[in-house]
């Protein structure tokens, strides 16, 4: 066995170490025994029956049998137990306690049952010598008594154990040194010379026990890992007030990059592992997400059901999943039942979400002034006449009311608000609530007998969205049942069922489109409510949001998982899994008639958003069947450990889609298809729309793995996968993917010697693997040409009817095949200072070859899209670092810090860009490059501009614009050719363009800090990006750019004004150039407006108090914790407040989005 001086405690294997620790911390629950006294406190435990196949077994084998056949975990100190000692037994079947008694008789070992643990310790023999008697008390860092701690006179077998109050009495020699030890705590030596009484405080030993990590088709001791794998446990999900799993994982592990796309209630963040995997136009680089071994959507999962999440980052770790896993795998393991008394936990959280970074629109007068200036600067007359400007001002000053005049051409109606409006409306305030509420409740039950354990949970999450006028809601119900059973010695059967239902509702007209339209089209001068108090739209988004109908999406998903493990002979397992998932999605949308009211308050239909009322129903059903059959065999021979595994996996996926829609809701407000008449807004009968399709894909794969290690020093792993996919034709269908990895843990070498007192793991590892990607996104039959045929959709009517249409299919490359992903990974792990410090480093290079890139450029005489084919490659390099520290001070204050940092950069290696257009991809381009001009500055005077133009004798800035004046941008002539232009934007002719930045998020980090003291715990979690450039020419950054791109927020007031009498004052040192419509000459991509999108965000603050056990016990509870959780409470960034650094680049890029939330939540957790 390994020698470990400091790491004295060793666990054979276990999946729930963390729980063990939690249990240990709540030390009052410990049961104890006195010296020499066998006290079976748990009769059920003692009565557990195991079977053995030999009459004699080594202690190690016996431990394994106990652990295999029961849910016990056997814990002991290495130096106490000679695990190779062989014991003979009378019976081949008997109670655990009987076997342990046998050990007790034949060795110097004592045993204790405690919940799910059996602790083996050395028998302490009292030698009654006439020496001194010493008494003492053993406590932990919280000052709580430690029961059952072993107190031994060092160098002897003389010892005792502490009693229920932590006291002990022992006779020792005068100069003795006492060694006090207890599982989970660091052993302490104390000299007793001159003392009769000592106080001993034991310190918790952090992560003293070897972690077990979930890997593909099995588990692996962390110590023996050779691939790049990160893991977090359920702790990552405790105390988070998030709406989905991905949000909780953001920043938790290096290399797992999660970015928020939108703040929508039903939005799910986008995920990648280690950066850009593919830029293939038709291929996807998403990681594979497996929930208990089966592909699933993590965002439909109840985060509290999660036991652990492993991320397999390199090819060696993920290659067992072959073609499904080229860009990494996320393995989610859900909780399962534990043997023992039924324990019930209930927890809840009540959340208040507050929108952050909601932009502030300017007032009407500022808006109109800006507008007129922008138009005049462009050579067109102002939009707002002087009279209207005055009206706007008077309205704002409260001198006049109304905000809109009747239409002079149609005096019974209110006028077009763009022309006759003079109100002052903050549309964002009108439409969005500032704070919304959400709550979550979770109940879980766990427990069972030795043969059968069960875990069941139910979770409810109810959230409201920010739309004020018509609620947006999301409700998730998730239940989970997991039953694990042992039929007999050879067969175990496990069954799991998960169900979830998500109901999402929103106003029909609440879309992405709404955000950009709201921002560009809703002028503050327009009124929301007409002078009679009715919502008035022409167009305004308030009316359709409130009255335009509802969009409802209901999904439910049922997952059934059956797993059978047969172990015919020791060490040989045959495992079969059948996973089956049914998913149903139903999207309802109704569009209701909307009404404006005329000057006299008489309603009339408003058709600006839709001239027809309608109901549509879309149904999608999918079925997924996954069968795995594999077998594994492990063998140990004189320090050589082998494990082989091989099997087969098949996956099949079916989808059917049906949709129907009909116009003409008969009675306003009704929303069923049966309540529609089929008539359009003008009363004409219109055929309903119907559609439907069936689709299928399938995958099959054979896989095998070999693990070998010699005494934990030299580690070797090889994987092989042979995969076939239905997406490619038979000649390209099958592909072989090998990978291998090696590791060397120097700390296990003889020469490491006493260094291991300080550094207990010092492991170097490396891996290389090849994987394939067949994920051609939504194109399930990429090698088949299909005719684009549509039923009755022609835009040209014959006899008033729409006709069927068809057109030529595009060209398709029949030779399309796999993308190849090659990953090399080098890693280093170290544990030091009694596991207080952990360090892990990874470096990787991942090459994606034969990507299905964009089509090569062809002479356009081809007349159709050039077929895409495998012609592109890229390389992503990166590194990851995790550094953690945990300790507990003598005064009982525990603290920990974990920092992770990662970086990945991508370079395009080959790309079919014959003309070398720099704004597109090209070979050797750094991904994310931003090409632009260098800005000299804003010309403050016409003279300054003229002088600048005069310095450019060969055409000035003519190539990018005209009418250059004060307040415009002066660009730098980088190539010195006397003019500013972009050449042909191709290599060799880039004119004055250069790379001014890179929008790849760099140096992603997560920092977790935690402190706990006497039941109080506080943790904070920061997440961020240290380096990122961003450029956008969107109107949200720049302000109004044309009449119908009329966005103006407070920030936009910082524009160039050389006019002391200007209502906003003189502004010569402005951020923005002068306002100017209908030209982008000042908005060219350029250095001055390159945004710094790096940020640090306080993602989570968690403050909790666990009530003292003494108090809890009186309530017959096991645990009671109250807590406050804050999410996104603070952000540090140089980025303008117009954008959120997390969502800035998601679609629509650089535009206003659904806001992110700061969440304040309170809750409690009770365990009975």
């Amino acid at each position: 066995m390994k020698r470990k001086a400091l790491l004295q405690l060793f666990i054979v294997h276990n999946n729930s170490i963390k729980d063990f620790f939690r249990v240990m911390r709540i030390s009052l629950f410990l049961l104890f025994v006195c010296v020499f006294q066998l006290m079976a406190t748990d009769t059920e435990a003692q009565n557990a029956v195991i079977n053995i196949r030999q009459n004699s077994l080594s202690i190690k084998q016996l431990i394994k049998e106990i652990e295999r056949q029961t849910d016990y975990l056997v814990v002991f100190r290495n130096q106490d137990v000679d695990v190779n000692k062989v014991i003979s037994f009378q019976k081949r079947s008997g109670k655990v306690s009987e076997y342990l008694d046998e050990i007790y008789k034949n060795t110097n070992l004592n045993y204790v049952f405690e919940k799910n643990y059996i602790t083996l310790s050395r028998k302490v023999e009292v030698v009654n010598q006439d020496k001194k008697k010493i008494t003492g008390k053993v406590t932990d860092q919280n000052g709580e008594s430690v029961i059952g701690a072993s107190v031994v006179e060092k160098g002897t077998t003389n010892g005792t154990m502490t009693d229920i109050d932590g006291f002990f009495t022992l006779e020792v020699e005068n100069a003795a040194v006492l060694q006090i030890s207890y599982i989970g705590y660091r052993t302490k030596d104390m000299a007793v010379a001159g003392k009769n009484n000592i106080q001993v405080q034991l310190m918790e030993d952090m992560q003293a026990l070897d972690e077990v990590v979930v890997v593909g088709f099995g588990t692996q001791k962390k110590e023996n890992l050779t691939g790049a794998v990160s893991q977090v446990t359920s702790e990552a999900f405790e105390g988070r007030s998030v709406s989905n799993v991905a949000q909780a994982l953001q920043g938790a592990m290096p290399g797992l990059n999660i970015s928020q796309s939108q703040g929508y209630l039903d939005a799910s963040p986008s995920i990648n592992i280690r950066g850009i995997g593919t830029i293939g136009e038709d291929s996807s680089g998403n990681p594979l997400v497996l929930i208990d071994g089966m592909e699933g959507d993590m965002n439909r999962l109840n985060p509290q059901d999660i036991e652990s999440v492993s991320v397999l980052k390199d090819a060696a770790a993920s290659s067992i999943y072959g073609s499904r896993a080229p860009f990494g795998v996320i393995l989610i393991t859900t909780k399962k039942g534990k043997e023992g008394k039924l324990s019930i936990n209930y927890n809840n959280s009540f959340r208040w979400n507050k929108a952050i970074n909601m932009p502030k629109p300017v007032d009407s007068y500022t808006f109109a002034t800006y507008f007129n200036e922008a138009a005049a600067n462009a050579g067109t007359a102002g939009y707002f006449s002087a009279e209207r400007l005055q009206k706007i001002k008077d309205f704002m000053d409260g001198k006049i009311t109304g905000g809109i005049d009747p239409d002079p051409n149609n005096p019974t109606r209110w006028g077009d608000p763009y022309v006759y409006g003079y109100g002052n409306t903050n549309w964002l305030d009108l439409i969005f609530d500032d704070t919304v509420f959400a709550h979550e409740h979770n109940v879980s039950i766990s427990g069972g007998t030795e043969k059968l354990q069960m875990y069941a949970s139910a979770n409810y999450l109810g959230q409201d969205g920010y739309i004020r006028l018509n609620p947006e809601t999301n409700q998730r119900i998730a239940t989970n049942l997991k039953v694990t059973s042992r039929l007999n010695d050879y067969i175990s059967i496990n069954y799991g069922m998960r169900f979830n239902q998500i109901d999402f509702e929103k106003p029909t007209f609440f879309t992405d489109n709404m955000f950009s339209n709201l921002s560009r089209q809703s002028w503050p001068t327009m009124i929301a409510y007409d002078p009679n108090g009715y919502l008035y739209s022409s167009p305004s988004w308030a009316l359709p949001l409130q009255d335009g109908g509802r969009h409802r999406k209901k999904t439910n998903e049922t997952t059934q998982q059956l797993n059978i493990v047969v172990e015919p002979i020791k060490g040989w397992k045959i495992i079969g899994d059948v996973n089956y998932q049914v998913y149903q999605e139903r999207v309802h949308e109704d569009i209701q008639k909307m009404y404006n009211h005329d000057v006299n308050g008489v309603p009339y239909q408003y058709t600006g958003f839709s001239s027809n009322s309608s109901v549509s129903e879309n149904y999608k059903g999918t079925k997924y069947l996954n069968i795995n059959a594999y077998t594994e065999y492990s063998k140990r021979l004189n320090g050589h450990n082998f494990k082989v595994m091989g099997g087969f996996q098949s996956e099949q996926f079916w989808q059917d889609v049906t949709n129907a829609g009909r116009l003409g809701i008969i009675v306003d407000g009704m929303d069923a298809l049966n309540a529609t008449s089929g008539t359009d807004g003008s009363g004409k009968i219109t055929p309903p729309t119907v559609g439907g399709s069936y689709d299928k894909w399938a995958l099959a794969g054979f896989f095998g793995r070999l693990n070998y290690d010699y005494k934990g020093r030299y580690l070797l792993e090889g994987n092989l996968r042979y995969d076939g996919t239905s997406r490619f034709r038979s000649d390209k269908r099958w592909k072989l993917f090998p990978s291998f990895s090696v590791g060397w843990n120097m700390a296990n070498e003889e020469f490491w010697g006493t260094l291991s007192d300080y550094i207990s793991t010092f492991k170097l590892r490396g891996s290389y693997g090849l994987l394939g990607n067949q994920n051609t996104k939504e194109k399930w039959y990429p090698t088949y040409l299909t005719m684009p045929i549509e039923a009755a959709n022609s835009a040209w009517l014959i006899n008033g009817n729409q006709q069927n249409t068809s057109s030529a299919p595009g060209l398709i490359s029949m030779t399309m095949g796999w993308e190849i992903v090659k990953t090399t990974n080098i890693g280093f792990d170290a544990n030091a200072l009694n596991n207080r410090m952990n360090l892990s480093l990874e470096w990787f290079t991942r090459k994606t070859e034969d990507m299905i890139g964009p089509a090569p450029e062809m002479p356009v005489i081809l007349g159709t899209g050039v077929p895409k084919t495998n012609n592109t490659s890229l390389r992503t390099n990166g590194w990851e670092l995790t550094l953690s520290w945990r300790d507990r001070l003598k005064n009982g204050l525990g603290y920990n810090a974990t920092f992770n940092l990662s970086d990945a950069r991508t370079k395009i290696l080959e790309y079919p860009n014959k003309t070398g257009v720099v704004t597109s991809y090209y070979s050797n381009k750094n991904y994310g490059e931003i090409w632009g001009y260098e800005t000299i500055g804003i010309a403050k005077t016409q003279e300054e501009m003229d002088a600048h133009l005069a310095s450019l004798p060969n055409g000035g800035q003519d190539a990018i614009g005209n009418n250059w004046a004060a307040g415009d941008i002066m660009y730098r002539d980088l190539n010195g050719d006397g003019k500013i232009d972009s050449g042909s934007s191709t290599h060799g002719d880039v004119g004055d363009l250069k790379v001014i930045g890179n929008e790849t998020p760099r140096y992603l980090f997560g920092l977790n800090l935690g402190v706990d003291y006497k039941g109080f715990d506080v943790s904070v979690f920061f997440q961020g990006v240290m380096k990122r450039d961003y450029y956008t020419s969107s109107m949200d950054l720049w302000g109004a750019t044309s009449l119908w791109s009329a966005t103006l927020y407070e920030q936009h007031k910082d524009y160039f004004r050389n006019d002391e009498n200007h209502i906003l004052g003189l502004n010569m040192d402005s951020y923005y150039p002068r306002p100017l419509f209908d030209t982008d000459k000042n908005r060219k991509t350029q250095s001055r407006y390159l945004l710094n999108a790096s940020y640090i965000r306080l993602k989570n603050v968690n403050i909790g108090y666990t009530l003292p056990t003494s108090l809890i016990n009186k309530l017959k509870l096991q645990n009671l914790r109250v807590y406050f959780v804050g999410e996104n409470l603070w952000t540090g960034t140089a980025l303008t407040d117009l954008f959120d650094p997390e969502t800035i680049s998601s679609d629509p890029a650089g535009m206003m989005k659904y806001p992110m939330s700061a969440t304040y939540s309170f809750g409690l957790s009770v365990t009975y």
């Binding site: 600006g608 835009a795 014959i798 068809s806 030529a808 081809l862 014959k914």
Partner: protein
Amino acid sequence: MKQLSIMKLKYISKILLLSGVLTACNDNLEIAPPSSVIPENYLKEESQLDSYIIKRYTDLPNAGGGVGLDNNTDNEAGMGYSTLYTEGDLKVGETGGEWNFETIYQINYFLERVLPAYKNNEIQGSQENIEHYIGEAYFLRALAYFNKLMTLGDFPIVRNTFTDDIQQLTEASKRMPRNEVARFIISDLDSAAVLMKPTAPDGKKNRMYKDICYLMKSRVALFEGTWLKYFKGTAFVPNGEGWPGATKEYNKGYEYPSGNIDNEIKWFLEQAIASADMVASKYPLTENSGVVMQGVGDSNPYVEMFSVPDMSGYEEILLWRDFDRGKGILHNRPVDGGTTCTGIGLTRGMVQSYLMNDGLPYYASSLYKGDDSSQDIVEGRDDRIRLFLKQPGMVNIWLNVGQGTHGNPVEAEVPDITNGSAQYRYNTGYQCRKYWYWDHTYCNNWQGDTGVSIFRAAESYLNYIEAYYECYGYLDSKADQYWRALRRRAHIEEDYNKTIQATDMSKEAELDWAAYSGGQILSDVTLFNIRRERRNEFLSEGFRSTDLKRWRSMDQMMLKKYHIEGFKLWNTDLPEKYAANGYKLIYDQDPNSNVSSPFVSDYLRPYEILKNNRAYGGYGWHMAHYLSPIAMQHFMITSTADDESYSDSPIYQNPYWPVKANYPAEK
């Protein structure tokens, strides 16, 4: 040995088992698209042919409706100036542009697959229908090619589809001389005419038939005939001086199929005459009652013809497009036509080009009341402007008033010339009334579903007259008959000779670009009046720009700039009226000016309100602008040489455009 063989057997059986599993897997992985039709099974039955063709019908000219179709010419002017006429704003593109083949590919795919199947009798359905659809395909290819001929001139002629083989594609990219392209179009139209049905198969003229082919043929032939005539000897025709085609081996020493350019011109014009006559002689013009429609009971078929929801009843309308609100097939003509045509107004030049009822130009007629008001200027004038010019107080909408979001039920006392929104701005003060509709339920924004006329017979009259005169230098009796018919309907003196005698070319040259060809004022007054007739009949129908180009009528602006003008604003009673209506007219106070200065012109100059407008100094011209440039990308892709001129590309640039992205015309 026995042991061994058992071992072997086991081994073999294992392999067999494994390969069996593999085969089974492979079969399971053979999934063809279950819900899609593959090409092998399609275009085998007449309705499938039908579906393919009908999809392309929206390619027909102006099929989307729209208004102000002559914007950016001397006829109409929108709020923004056109870069076609300013200095250095029109540039060679980096990518894209007119050099594209998507539509051509679609049709070639159809013909390539359907023709052999049709010849082998493999297509089910009625022979007549199948032939009709094939005929339509030929027509649509001709149409696609005509669009290229107008914008690019010389163009590759492709009759088949290609694979993605760069050599083959480069080879195919050779530009054929423009007259060859025109001949190819005409041959396609001839095929179409042979195959198509003689009358509209749907009975409502929403589907094409033989006569559409003839009309189109006359259009194409007239276009090419006159282009060759007016650009003869220049770089814009094959073998002309500086013709860029001569720089390529494959076009060097090109010979016209008819021997020389003059024969070629004659050939095209004769084609135009013959085919125009086949239509003109068959279809009468819709009657004009002369009624300016103002309310319930008012009717004028000539006016209604352009905007009613169902156009099938008008003989003159040869093909029209039906729209439908419930099906979401919509346009915005009623809203735009009922307001300000998206800020596109008629120019003074356009309005003044119309003859007075006595057949005399305004400057020669006693009927002319001057142009101090828009009422005055149309009084006693050609109905085509009297009916189609909006006037203060005019009632536009009298049905279901209040049911629409837009559209002015009644025109204001003064047109709003200062509004910043195109939807409300009477940009020139003169507003076209064609395409407006009087039922307010059609006037909801982008919810219009009135009919849209695509081809009308009047064009064949005009094509005949012009082609005949250009070909022979005189008018035959048919031309005379057609011209008189047009004038009769416009309620002007039928005898065009009176007009010809009274026409003063120097007066006409002040306002009408078409008074020039090749930089010279026309000496042939008859020819000018033929052009005038075309201009007047096609008010806002989208012919002007092409006509001006084929007549080479912009050269003169390279020497003398042209000022786009609207109605007479200054030295009239209008400023008072504006003041009375609450408008403040501001000039020469940039940036607050909202009208052009009286010190520049009495007439409203929409591009000369602010001095920093790019067109403040008037519209100019560049020779290169007669054709569009070909974007850089296309030279680069078809070239293997590394030099900047891409000289080994088979593609050559159009005259006076550089082979350099983002650069303006050289001449």
